[in-house]
Amino acid sequence: MLRLVPRQTGSTWMLWSAPVLAVILTVMAGGLMFLSLDVDPVAALGHILLDPFSTTYARAELLVKSAPLALIGLGLSLGFRAGVWNIGAEGQFTLGALGGGVVALAFWNVEGAWLFPLICLGGIASGMAWAAIPAYLKVRHNTNEILVSLMLTYIAVLLISALVSGPLRDPEGYNFPESRMFHASAVAPILIEGTRAHIGIALAPLIAVILWGVLMRHEIGYGVRLFGDAPKAARFAGFTEKGTVWFCLLLSGGLAGLAGALEATGPLGQLVPDLPAGYGFTAIIVAFLGRLTPLGVLVGAFALGVTYIGGESAQVAMSLPAAVVGVFQGMLLFFLLSIDVLVTNRVQWVVPAAAKIKAGP
């Protein structure tokens, strides 16, 4: 009989091979899913896994998708380490886009190099403000941050829809629920000519390195890690729960807000009602795939970016439903969580008690 026996210390080797195994299992399960849908699995998986790397444009789009996932995932990973469950990054992302967008529209047709940084700050501040609500309620009233941040996501999605059909609607837009297109000074600078690859792609690795420094080399990061591993020890060492909750929620909210502002001023160039496209939820998978470490998150964001671009490509080429992407992402997280049991446990062969009795002379 197979039994799980706890390990003395977690296995580092399993910790890092689990995401790789999860990806392999997801691809295999995806193939079975395509078979059951009467779709050629080799062709479909080929589109999903290879198309994102096939042309310069596709490679740039891959980075465009990975950047917001990385930015949001970076913030979330720190919180998840400390046991602060910010599930509402999607809402903070949306508010960031709104905050950045409002700055862009307020200075419409005003030129200047100062405008784009101001938009980014507007996005960060809005995302932080939205995340401050669950943070305040958690420390002041001990209200569950999971449910509050999630409810705020629904409110944020309705809010952007209301604003772009009301006060922020393009006055020359024939009543379509969308804002004006942002002008030249208000859009994110393009890194690779002829593509949509914008400045956010360079910001994500930069912020990852900074956060790595904060997490591994700074007292604040030590507190975050300690709260996750041993809350009692953390309190004894003088770190407060309140400080950790505030830090984790404001950081993840600010980064999600920045991602939102970059999404609005980058690939979209305006505010539209369907701007919240689920990055905030996908980034949760990214954080876990990256083992809740800043540099791992970058790789995780890239992997999930592949599912988006490859999924779109498979949709166009083989008329597969858009939902395939969501199923792939869900499966990936399930496999990862299942394999993770082997990080803290090992499998042991145990002779069942009944068999021992029979084995007498």
């Binding site: 705020l152 439903p321 969501g326 997280l333 993770d340 049991v341 446990n345």
Partner: protein, 306 residues
């Protein structure tokens, strides 16, 4: 009179899916398991119920399909958390993401269908009482089932041996194990039951409330059901109160427009979510309140000692 009755009938219809999902989750949490995947199990129930009813033409087949689908998805959660010992919070989220994806995938074929009115059962004589009659005694079978379920679970938790064992598992799983109860198996059974309830709750949306299939049609009701369990302080009767309260705020947006409230519909649609936050704050800041009534082992995995 008819107008008031109309509002009350729509209140019952808005609250019923919440009752199913909340009472199922309540039992799961009383056994010490926190399954945050209610939204995913509801949406899977919504599409399975709809597909079952479209393909077979029978409402019973639809409801049974929804229960089976919800329970199956729940058992996936059970396998990953109870056997493979994964974190319950993250696994619940995974269940929601997965359920939304799978339902959208299988729902593609069904977006063009719409269903006939769900069969209504008028209870003789009682349904003719003015006001109360049409509201309580002239509803569909699922409304009666939801009320029966709450009563049955209240009774089972309070007065039966099974209820006692279940609560023991939720309060102290080590003690329950030492007494010889199979903690993991009990929890797996309860998780499947909660999934079946959430599945029926979701099916109520696609079979009775709308009745069409739309992607992501649960629109956060699974999360509201989780909030109702907190609101109810893990007591069955209070879930009824919570569900009707939230149901009331859900229909406010429909009737708000009928009353000629001239603010954009999006703001009215925010009401149930905003109310959920307010209610959570009020409940959690009661002195000691929700922390004392939450099952002791809520969200903690049980691993057999060697």
């Amino acid at each position: 009179m008819d107008f008031v009755a109309g509002i009350l009938v729509s209140l019952v219809i808005a609250a019923t899916p919440l009752i199913f999902a909340a009472i199922g989750e309540l039992v799961v949490e009383r056994a010490g398991v926190l399954n945050l995947g209610v939204e995913g199990m509801m949406i899977i129930g919504a599409i399975a119920g709809f597909a079952g009813m479209v393909d077979s033409g029978s409402a019973v087949v639809g409801v049974v399909a929804a229960m089976a689908a919800g329970a199956t998805l729940a058992l996936l959660f059970g396998l990953v958390t109870q056997v493979l010992l994964a974190n319950q919070v993250v696994t619940g989220l995974a269940l929601t993401l997965f359920g939304l994806g799978v339902s959208a995938l299988f729902g593609q074929r069904y977006t063009t269908y719409s269903l006939d009115r769900f069969p209504r059962i008028d209870i003789p004589y009682l349904s003719e009482i003015p006001l109360i009659g049409p509201v309580i005694f002239a509803q569909d079978a699922l409304v009666y089932l939801s009320l029966f379920l709450v009563a049955a679970i209240w009774w089972a938790l309070k007065f039966t041996r099974l209820g006692l064992v279940l609560r023991a598992v939720g309060e102290n799983h080590d003690a329950a194990h030492a007494l010889g109860y199979p903690v993991i198996w009990i929890r797996l059974g309860v998780i499947a039951f909660g999934g079946a309830c959430a599945g029926v709750g979701g099916a109520y949306l696609s079979l009775v409330q709308t009745p069409i299939w739309v992607e992501s049609m649960t629109a956060g009701r699974g999360w509201i059901a989780l909030a109702i369990v907190v609101f109810a302080a893990w007591r069955p009767w209070r879930t009824l109160l919570g569900a009707y309260l939230f149901g009331g705020f859900t229909i406010l947006q429909l009737h708000g427009q009928a009353f000629g409230v001239s603010i954009p519909s999006q703001y009215l649609s925010m009401i149930p979510y905003a109310v959920t936050i307010i209610v959570l704050v009020v409940i959690s800041s009661e002195s000691g309140g929700s922390r004392l009534s939450a099952p002791n082992c809520l969200g903690r995995n049980f691993q057999k000692p060697k």
